[in-house]
Amino acid sequence: MSIKGKAYIVGAFEHPDRVIPDRSVAQIHAENTVGVLADAGLRLSDIDGLFVVGGGGMLPIVMADYLGLNTLRYLDGTAVGGSSPVYHIGHAAVAIAEGKCNVALVTLANRPRSEQVPRSANTSPEAAFEMVYGTSTLGMYALAAQRHMYEFGTTSEQLAWVKVAASEHAQYNPRALLQKPVTVDDVLNSPMLSDPLHRLDCCVVTDGGGAVIVASAEVARQVNRPMVKIMGHGEAPKHLNNGRIDLTYTGARWSGPRAFSEAGVAPTDIDYASIYDSFTITVVETIEDLGFCEKGKGGQFVADGGLRARGGRLPVNTDGGGLCNNHPGMGGMMKVLEGVRQVRSEAHAEVQVADCELALVHGTGGSLGTRMASATLILGVEDA
């Protein structure tokens, strides 16, 4: 079975706030829901599938209750970190293609900026062999960056270009947390946090979230919004491989070809890409693994404005990305939203890709190259 052409993104909403000290995660989900239904022109009672991440307890039923969804036929709460929403959209498309639901709400909410929850002693089986050594998300990504530099000669200057392009795009996004363009030198002169990653190699931390509605072709034709077709989806976890770990590549090596194959397109066909950017190195490894350039050449690909909306080799993260705009813990949703804007031709005029017919969205969850979940989604205009 293929999902190609069976499901569409008919509504999209990015929560406008970046700091939310006064409402809960559940309430942010509710605000997402109101926002995305308004965008799609649908009603709460139309929703018959719920895909949700962010929040505690038995989240899917907690949110079904909170939102008062009485006709749910499909529930999914797959939680694999930042790529979770990209997983959810693929799963929603499958459910719709199989007739299990028609209108799926996919929502992410999180408050990592306001809610400083200390990580307690972790009972996960690997924790005793990792966390006791002072791990952090930053440290795990730094280990990957260091090895990538060692094997391929990737430089800090090249990584900095990822941030530079994101910051140049963010100046056109009035909601972006960081709107000031930065230079390569600004990145290199920012404090070294965990070698080789500087402060400006890291994404922002925000509260908020966003949502999309995935619906059947029949529903998509009824709503008064541009058609955004789900062309293909691929997902792949990558893990320690029994201690034979290789930090220089990601699960995108597998999720990408699956998505391209289902969509029937190639990397050279892609007009715009949202690439998960928790750190600059995340983008470099992912671009290689998705086949936009040869393995090990990602640094050269992103350098000298390679990711700019105007004149770049591949326009990437035109909303400013997680590096500048918005990263509420699980930023895969933001990646989808800018992909939708580009396909709808609703991105800011300064960063809108002309004739954008095919957009790729890639989510990265977990620790880069270590224990992670990759998901690739390809979106297209109706006749793509």
Partner: protein
């Protein structure tokens, strides 16, 4: 047998799951052991009595050489670790060491300046007592580097 030396970094006690107690018991004696599949002889990492190569539930614990080389490292200067025990740890080196037996394992590089650590550097195991019946295997530059 490597000596159990004085701690130089915080040595938080691991949460010892019952099936990997032999690993941690050995560390308390200054020994690094690895689970090896009884059926197909694959070395398993991280430790668990399950072989990802063949699906066997039977492992035996074999003595590792304690020798290896640095696969990757990062000098944590300002990053905040997941564990509160590291809040005042200062600058430290988080690393993956490739054991001579094959597995690449997470650890710290100690007993040297963080700025001297290099990928490929030869290292040997030391043990830092957690005070709770276990010791953390860490690595220092090899004496015969």
């Amino acid at each position: 047998m490597a000596a159990v030396t004085e701690r130089v970094l915080p040595a938080p006690a691991p949460n010892v799951l019952p099936e990997v107690k032999p690993f941690w018991d050995a560390t308390a004696e200054g020994r690094l052991v690895l689970p090896q599949c009884v059926e197909c002889q694959t070395l398993v990492w991280y430790p668990r009595p399950f072989c990802p190569a063949c699906g066997s539930l039977k492992v035996e614990w074999i003595q590792a050489s304690g020798q290896g080389s640095v696969y990757s490292f990062t000098v944590n200067r300002r990053g905040q670790a997941d564990l509160a025990a590291y809040r005042d740890a200062g600058v430290y080196v988080l690393a993956y060491v490739e054991l001579d037996e094959g597995p690449r394992i997470m650890t710290n590089i100690v007993d040297c300046s963080p700025d001297e650590v290099r990928i490929g550097q030869r290292v040997e195991v030391v043990f830092h007592d957690t005070g709770q019946g276990s010791a953390l295997p860490r690595f220092r530059p090899a004496a015969t580097a």
